[in-house]
């Protein structure tokens, strides 16, 4: 799965730890998501999208 988490997080000036704390995940999980090594649950995907200022999950995650 491709994601835009890294790009959107940097645009917001957030660190991985700050994003992790806001969505209730660990920093390692955010790193795995940014690298495309982990597919999140729908709940986590929605939380990340909202935290990064996107209304739709598809704006952040792209299922190939």
């Amino acid at each position: 799965m491709k994601t835009r988490i890294l790009e959107l997080r940097k645009a917001k000036g957030m660190t991985q730890q700050e994003l992790a704390d806001k969505v209730g995940a660990s920093r390692q999980t955010i790193n795995a998501l940014e690298q495309g090594r982990y597919n999140p649950s729908l709940v986590l995907a929605c939380r990340i999208a909202r935290t990064l200022g996107k209304e739709h999950v598809e704006d952040v995650f792209d299922v190939e």
Partner: protein, 142 residues
Amino acid sequence: MIGKPAWFARRKYSGWGLTPATWEGWAYIILMVLPLAFFQAMPYWTPQVRLAVTGVWALLLLVDVIDIMLRLRMDEREKLHEAIAERNAAWYMVVVLAIGLGYDMMMNAATEKIYVNPFIAAALFGAVLVKAATNIYLDKKN
């Protein structure tokens, strides 16, 4: 209770339990484990008093560690990783226990005795029950 989950991380690479993640975690280990050695060196305590005090302290430590482990939060990826690691460990233990049971039975068959180690049998039978109960619970939950 005494320890805080933020001081520890779940042990991943060296067995089960907790590992200190902050200096408070190390301080907790020292302050909670050192008294166990201190109790053994008390010169005027009778063996009964020593055993009782050590037992109560060890029980307090065990209950507190279980409490910390139950309150330690994991995100979905960490839960998934732990579940897969625990499953692999469980499978390894089942295979070794089953081999042990078979070996015991073969050795005893040579002497024309039927003997099954009750602990190995209880571990295998108990594991079957725990797995069934877990699946019933999970099927109802989601």
